[in-house]
């Protein structure tokens, strides 16, 4: 038997297609709140451009990268800011879509999943979260 300990237990709506979590992005004295889908297939966290602009980021001043999906490719820009998901807060490297029409918000692997411990019981609509702490 294996055992993990979690600080957070959340219920999510199993009626929705994705597993959505509340996200807050913080930069200096500004913050923005929205929901994003857990996506283990996404390399990074990628969010709508308008959320970065709400934080007064110059989106194109970030690090430009190309991403691919089943339906094509898109560009996004990486920035350093603080991400909070359900009370778990850390500094990360976050991407914003170059295209303002891109509306999918995803919590991806590098910069989010690699910082936490995630437990999922989809049948019950339960998600368990904790900071990764090797102690």
């Amino acid at each position: 038997m294996y055992k993990l300990n979690f600080e957070k237990l959340l219920a999510y709506n199993t009626g929705k297609v994705g597993i959505e979590l509340d996200v807050t992005l913080k930069l200096k004295d500004k913050s923005v709140n929205f929901t994003a889908k857990v996506d283990t297939g996404a390399a990074h966290c990628i969010f709508e451009r308008r959320f970065g602009e709400d934080l007064e980021l110059e989106i194109e001043n970030g690090i430009a990268r190309k991403f691919s999906t089943a339906t094509g490719t898109f560009s996004a820009y990486g920035h350093n800011l603080t991400i909070v998901t359900e009370g778990l807060e850390f500094d990360s490297y976050i991407f914003f879509y170059a295209d303002e029409n891109h509306k999918t918000n995803v919590l991806g692997r590098f910069g989010w999943l690699d910082r936490i411990i995630l437990g999922l019981v989809d049948y019950e609509g339960k998600i368990y979260l904790n900071y990764y702490d090797e102690k």
Partner: protein, 115 residues
């Protein structure tokens, strides 16, 4: 901190004048801010300077470290490895317990945008 000590501090705070309470609140807010910044690895410099230094390093060194994780302390590299654990452990060996950990990609790499 024990619950007993916290209750004792609260009781003492209740005896303060409104002005003194305000001074105490400001002090605690400042202390909390310092603590949070330390947890986020934003020690020493301002938040803006730390973030700018990290981004400058990433822009200058992405091609060299593409495909690896790096640990940064402001604009200084304190760890690098194929895994986040390797980078983090190197940083910790150098005394940096809260480094900024990033998986670096090349300009030419096509990253997965999700399912």
């Amino acid at each position: 901190m024990s619950v007993k000590l916290l209750d004792s501090i609260k009781q003492q705070a209740n005896r303060l004048s409104p002005k003194e309470k305000n001074q105490l609140a400001n002090y605690l807010l400042q202390e909390t801010k310092i603590s949070v910044e330390k947890d986020l690895g934003l020690h020493g410099e301002t938040e803006e300077e730390t973030r700018a230094a990290r981004m400058k390093w990433l822009k200058a060194n992405s091609e060299q470290y593409a495909g690896m994780y790096v640990a940064l302390d402001g604009g200084k590299l304190v760890g690098a490895g194929k895994t986040i654990r390797e980078a983090d452990e190197q940083a910790k060996q150098k005394g940096v317990n809260k480094s900024f950990l990033v998986r670096v990609s090349s300009e030419n790499e096509i990253l997965s945008g999700g399912w």
